[in-house]
Every structure is written in C-alpha cells, then in structure tokens.
Symmetry: C2
Subunit: 307 residues, 2 copies
C-alpha cells in the first residue's frame, strides 16, 4: 500500500551536547518518508529551493521514496536552526527561515491521488485540509500539528481534525488542544473532534494510543508502548516524525486496520523514533535494515512484556 506525506523538507542546523551540524537534510516529510520507507511505498509532496541538490534528493530516492511531488521554487529551502544544549527534551529555536516554504501551496500530482494512506505532517491546517479533500478514497488519514496552530489557528485546526482519523501529538500539545491538564480527559475530549484514535507521545516515556468509542474493533482501554531507555541521545530532531513514519508505514503494510495492528504500529513508531536520535539528522534513518528494525522491535517487546 502507498502512503502520501505532505510536509516540510528542510535544512537543519543543530546543536546538541554531542556536537553540531550545519544545514543537514531535515524536515518532517523527510524524516517521515525515510522511516515509513522500511515498511511500504512512500510519496512526498513538499517544496524546496534552488539550494536543494540531486544529492539531497537521492537520500530519499535511495530508499525508494517517490520524490516526483517535490516542487522546486526559486529561493532557498526552509532552514531551521535549533539547540538542545540546555535541554535534550525540548529544542530551543535559534532561527526559522521559512524561505520557499512561506508560500507552500501543495499540489497533488495525478499519479498520487490514488494513494492508500495520507499523512498530513505539521503544516498550516488549512493546507492540510485542502490536500485531504483532493484525495480519492484514502483508507486512513494521519495527522500532526503543533502549538503554533493550536493556539493561533484553532478554528481552522478543529475544522481539519474532522477529516483526520489518527492524530499524533505530544503531551503538551494534547493538553493545550483540549484545554485540559489531565491527559486521559484531554484525550477523551480530542476524540470528540474527529479522530478515531489519538496517539499521545511522551518522549522518553513512550506513547499512548487512545481509541474513540467503538473504533478499530472496540475496546475501552488505551494502549501504552514503551520508549527505549537510551544512554545517549545525539539529536532528538525528527524523532516524532519518525515515530509517525514507523506507525503509519507499519499500518500501510498490513491487510487489515484493527486495534492489534495499531498496537504493533505503536511499537514500530517507538522503534523508528529510537533510531532517529542515535545520530545527527537523517543519518541513522538512511542506513537501517528491516532486520535491525525487527530486532529492536523484539527489544521493545522484551522490555515491556511479562511472560
């Protein structure tokens, strides 16, 4: 099954306790695509500038990602600069140069319209909704968002969420979106906005998926997947997007979409997120094998399952 992802392709300049890198390939759509590429066919819609070279594109192409939906505009590619030196759990943004991304107006190539799955990475909810409405019979729509859209573009986001089947956000975003400090109650409220499942990511503590009433075969309890306890985190950038890529990619690789599939998808999400942070930028995501991924899946199982 094919997944279409719409989002940013960017250059990131990152500082962390482990060192620093300048203008390495990044962006939510890039991380998502690479992570999902180990499970299924991936297509990308994004915009890049003149500084985006064939070498950059090859990072995705080598993983079999269809990059024909990446539009080239005059100007520079979106550039983000951030630091994790003081806090590995939260990036301090040093600079955001939107560049060509400022006027991003996603166009869906005809050949992409039959994609089976759609992932709306973190962009303006109005654009997310426009893309979603243009698709033909997508089986499942996943989506992401962030504080900026939650607080400043609330009505647009709420409208978009009506068409999102699985929303993936973190604790802080969930509490902000629901205006509710208890996570369980926040989840219950968000599930009334449209999504049939809500994945809340807890960083180093794992993630929880909450199910809407009767969704995905029923079951009243949420499901918690662990994160890998890591002695070193080199660069947390893209961990959330890789979680989404592993999660959506695994679902797209399965015949049925049910609760058990979503539970395993939570594990694969955590697995891909755990690889992402081991090296700067997308480096670790370029060099994996499915065997390595499945070996780590087994570790996730061992660290969370009793006999």
């Amino acid at each position: 099954m094919s997944i279409l992802v719409v989002g940013s392709v960017a250059f990131d300049s990152i500082q962390s306790p482990a060192g620093k890198v300048e203008k390495c390939l990044g962006g939510a759509a890039t991380y998502f695509s690479l992570a999902a590429s180990y499970f299924t066919k991936v297509r990308v819609i994004a915009v890049v500038g003149e500084d985006f070279t064939a070498e950059h594109e090859n990072v995705m192409k080598k993983r079999g990602v269809d990059t024909s939906g990446i539009e080239r505009a005059s100007g520079n590619t979106f550039h983000w600069s951030g630091s994790y030196v003081e806090n590995l759990n939260e990036a301090k943004t040093l600079a955001t140069d939107l560049n060509v991304f400022e006027k991003f107006n996603p166009k869906i190539p005809a050949a992409y319209k039959d994609s089976d799955f759609l992932f709306l990475a973190n962009i303006d909810p109005v654009l997310q909704n426009t893309v979603r409405k243009q698709m033909n019979g997508v089986r499942l729509v996943g989506g992401d968002t962030m504080n900026y859209w939650i607080t400043g573009h609330t009505a647009n986001l709420i409208e978009t969420l009506k068409g999102v089947n699985v929303l993936l956000i973190n604790d802080g975003e969930a509490k902000l979106l629901a205006k509710e400090s208890n996570l369980m109650r926040a989840a219950q409220k968000i599930l009334t906005f449209g999504p049939k499942a809500l994945v809340i990511k807890h960083g180093e503590y794992g993630a929880t998926v909450f199910f809407g009433p009767g969704s995905f075969g029923g079951g009243t309890h949420p499901f918690r997947a662990p994160a890998m306890p890591l002695a070193e985190v080199v660069d947390p950038t893209g961990a959330g997007d890789c979680f989404a890529g592993g999660f959506m990619g695994y679902i797209a690789s399965q015949d049925e979409i049910n609760r058990e599939v979503l539970k395993r998808a939570m594990f694969y999400g955590g697995v891909m997120g755990s690889f992402a942070v081991e090296k700067f930028g997308t480096q670790r995501l370029q060099e994996l094998s499915r065997e390595e991924i499945d070996a780590r899946f087994q570790i996730f199982r061992e660290i969370s399952h009793i006999e």
Copy 2:
C-alpha cells in the same frame, strides 16, 4: 513469607482539586503495609504519639498487619500537611510537624528478627542501616529515600545503599543521586553503589526497573511497566509507598526471586499505586480484594501487551 517495614506512621492533612481532609491516617509505613498486606504477612516498626488511637491501629490490624512493633511515645504523632491544588504531580508541603518522629530510634522486637524481607521506607539512612544490620538472614532488602537525604546526608546514604538490594526512587531523585541528567546513565551509576536492581518511578508514565550486571538471572535490558491512565486523581499521597508495597509484597509471595518475578512485581506495584490515588488517604487501600487487584493487573497487561 513475612515483610518487615520500618518507616513513618503519620497523620496527613491534604488538599487536592478533589477536596480536603484533616489529619487522616498516613505515613510511608502505613501505605506500604496496607498495600503489601494483600500479598503476604507484614510487620511494622514505627513510632506514634498519644493521639494515635486503637481505631487508627485497627486500620492496619484489620488487614492482618502485625502492629506490635509500633512504639508509643509521649507527644503527638508525626503530622504532614500538603497541597496538590496547583500541581497533582508534586505536593506542596504546607507544614511538617515531626513530633515523636523526631527522636525515632527503631527497635526490632525479637519476634521480628526472622522476617524474610525488609523494606526501609524513607527515613534517615543511618537508621535504615542500623535496622538492616540487626536483621538475621533477610532474603531481600528494599529501600526508599528522598532529596533531603540525597543532598544533605550523602555519605550516610551511600553507606546505607551498600546493603540495599532494590532501591525504589523517582526520576528526580535518581538524577540527583547520580548527578546525571540522562536516566539510563543515572541508573547505571546508582547500580554501582550497591543495589542489584533499581526501580525508577515515572509517576503517570509508569516505572522502569534496571538490573545490575548478572543480577536476578541476568538480562541486559531494563524493564518498563505502564501506569494506569486515570481520568481523575483524588489524592496522590502514598502512591509511591503503595507501589513499593505491591512490589515487595508480590516478591515475598513467590518462592523464587528472579527477573520474571521482579517484572510482575513492577506491574503489581503500578496496580497498588493506581488504587491509592482513587480516594483520600488510605481509604481505597483498606477496602480492596485480591480479585480487584488481579483484575486491574489484567488491565495493566492489556494496555501494554501486544498479541
């Protein structure tokens, strides 16, 4: 198998978003005893004042707890007053009246010396060590501590930890004790201080047990147990002590002490902690049945296990 717990029996005055209570029965040894009593025989060493009535003692006695080691001193019982109104995850201490607890000098009744398990609740590490040294052939020593002892009585605590087999603390305490902000590295360092296993509690995100090299049958990976996502937390007081009670109590109920037993004990710890917060004080811990406990254990399994 019998467990001896040494720690505080207290009166707590608690405010939370759910309401307030005045001078209800509390204290680490009380919560621990009640939680562990559903699994095994429990004996308590503590000190109380003249305001501690037969009715208070009966709360423990009704659960079969041996209270003959509770010493009566002239003066009032330890009284703690705290509020969770602003933050359910961390108590704001409003008042601490140590009263008779200030001169607590635990004496071990002869009949207690053969206890199979020992739990050193959060008291002065010098007292913890004195108690531990007086015991005959304990199978496993569990212990707790807090920031106050970690920062102000470091040398004494490090000395005491040499004799503690399983230390149970929270994230903040672990990082402070190890002087290390990465949790995995903090755990690895603490495991060189003496404990063969270290349980780090993450509040609403569950808990992780880290094993020392070759301890409890080996295995290199830590183990993570979930916490129950709860729509309402009435009173978080004692949740950590109930975790310890469920954890140690379950271990004491088993013939062998190995990695699998410790993993299941992590689940029972989480289960008892999840009950503790449902009502003010020790109320919920007084009225449980083993059937309710095992039903919740199954829920913990469902919310964390894939097929």
